[in-house]
């Protein structure tokens, strides 16, 4: 479904990503972990064609991002960290607009609209202006726009940021439900959330993938120097403490890109 091959990204002299490679299969829910400035958002922006990689290739559903950017974007649903919403629109109008620009056939727009309103539990607010909604509803509208065109790959950048515990559970349940229909790449700071929804974890540090493993394997801890059972939080902290280098400090000083 997704093949990321040796992608690097430079912003001037700053290297945001350094030869990142990984693959995702259909139906995978992968958690992308990393500190602020590690390169998560840059990676997601490359996968969604928002920015181009300096080198390397990305293949999504058989199409190369450098050659078929438009058809790649048709296959992707993306929720940026700040949901891209028009406050003056009603939920229904906004989702209809999203469906139109994402190429949903005219005769299927109403069907898709009804489907995402149901799936994201937005029916009761469909006539409301987006600006008047709570943060939890806004986040669900953001997810609804990302899935309205039935993308094969769903990319979510910190979808639970700023939500209360109940709203977080609602959003996580929504993400879990996507498993049967699409592949999901989920970036979050919350390790508990990754444990709840993901099967696999990618950890990115200073622009490099430092860990790529199944969640079950990580938590069982193959490394016998640690006493099991480990939590994902411990795994995360161990990685960052054991590999703290002068290079990383320099990297973080320049981390304005994310």
């Amino acid at each position: 479904m997704l093949i990321v091959n040796q992608i690097s990204k430079h912003f001037g002299s700053f290297q945001a990503l350094d030869k990142v490679s990984f693959e995702m299969k259909k139906g995978d829910i992968v958690g992308l972990l990393g500190k602020n400035g590690a390169g998560k958002t840059t990676l997601m922006r490359i996968l969604t064609s928002f920015i181009a990689p300096s080198s390397g290739s990305v293949i999504i559903g058989g199409d190369d991002i450098n050659k078929h950017s438009l058809s790649i974007r048709q296959k992707i649903g993306y929720l940026p960290e700040k949901p891209p919403l028009y406050g003056d629109m009603t939920v229904q109008y906004y989702l209809k607009f999203a469906a139109e620009i994402k190429g949903v056939p005219k005769n299927k727009i109403l069907f898709q609209l009804a489907k995402v309103l149901e799936e994201c539990d937005l029916k009761q607010v469909k006539q409301k202006t987006i600006a008047t909604l709570s943060k939890g509803f806004k986040q669900r509208v953001g997810i609804a726009q990302a899935i309205i065109h039935e993308p094969k790959l769903l990319i979510l950048d910190e979808p639970t940021s700023g939500l209360d515990p109940i709203q977080i559970q609602q959003v996580l349940a929504l993400i879990k439900n996507q498993r049967d229909q699409r592949t999901v790449l989920l970036s979050t700071h919350s390790l508990t959330e990754i444990e709840q929804v993901a099967q696999r974890v990618l950890m990115i540090k200073s622009g490099q993938i430092v860990l790529d493993d199944l969640l079950d394997v990580l938590l069982k801890n193959k490394d016998t120097t640690h006493v099991p059972p480990l939590t994902l939080e411990q795994v995360f902290i161990n990685y960052h403490q054991s590999q703290a280098t002068v290079k990383e400090d320099t990297h973080n000083d320049n981390s304005g890109v994310e």
């Binding site: 922006r45 969604t48 064609s49 928002f50 920015i51 438009l70 058809s71 974007r73 048709q74 992707i76 993306y78 940026p80 700040k82 949901p83 891209p84 919403l85 028009y86 406050g87 003056d88 629109m89 109008y93 607009f97 999203a98 139109e100 620009i101 994402k102 190429g103 005219k106 726009q145």
Partner: protein, 236 residues
Amino acid sequence: MNKIFALTKKELYGLFSSPIAYIILIVMLSLFNVFFFLIIDQNAEVSLRDVFQLMEFMLVFFIPLLTMRLFSEEKANGTMEFLLTAPLTHTMIVLGKYFSLLIFYTLLIGLTGIYYFIVEYYGEPDSLSMLSGYLGIWLEGAFFIAVGLLASSWTSNQIIAAMVSYLILFSLYFATSFTQYVNGWAEHFLIQLSTHTHLENFAIGIITPSDVVYYLSGIVLCLVLTRLSIDNRLWH
């Protein structure tokens, strides 16, 4: 084409769901009406030539107020990322936004069409020169909108977008004022650069290919530069 239409509809929705569209329509039409009656009363001639020239001057002030939000607002709200990661070409985004304001502007100019009928009713004007004047003022507004769209693509700050538009439009409008300081080809260049020169011909009923090409090439140039600005993310 459907996607361009969807973008145009969305822009018009945004325009009419805020007070700015209504305020600009009311203020511009009120000013146009006042000056129309003053000019007709003072000139005592059945022509809209001076009305068109006054409208041109007012467009320099009003169009940047309409165009400043086109891209700047999207960038400031984070919705530019939404458009650029949707399966849309950059040309579609530029055209969708451009057409929305062109429709709004056509509505505004259409509402001044009553002047034509008033003058027709009370005198025997040269109808063709009035119609060519309308074509000229429409082309000029279409050009100004393209300039405003370009300025808006350069920044995420609406005030800066408006200021840059003013700078370009005033330079184009007053270009002939600088002819006294130069001569030869530079003088000719400034005269040809001025929007005032080209509208004057339309206002007196003369439609020349060079005037039409001036406006159309100006529009195309600005739209192409806007697309390049989006391609290169110049606002970062």
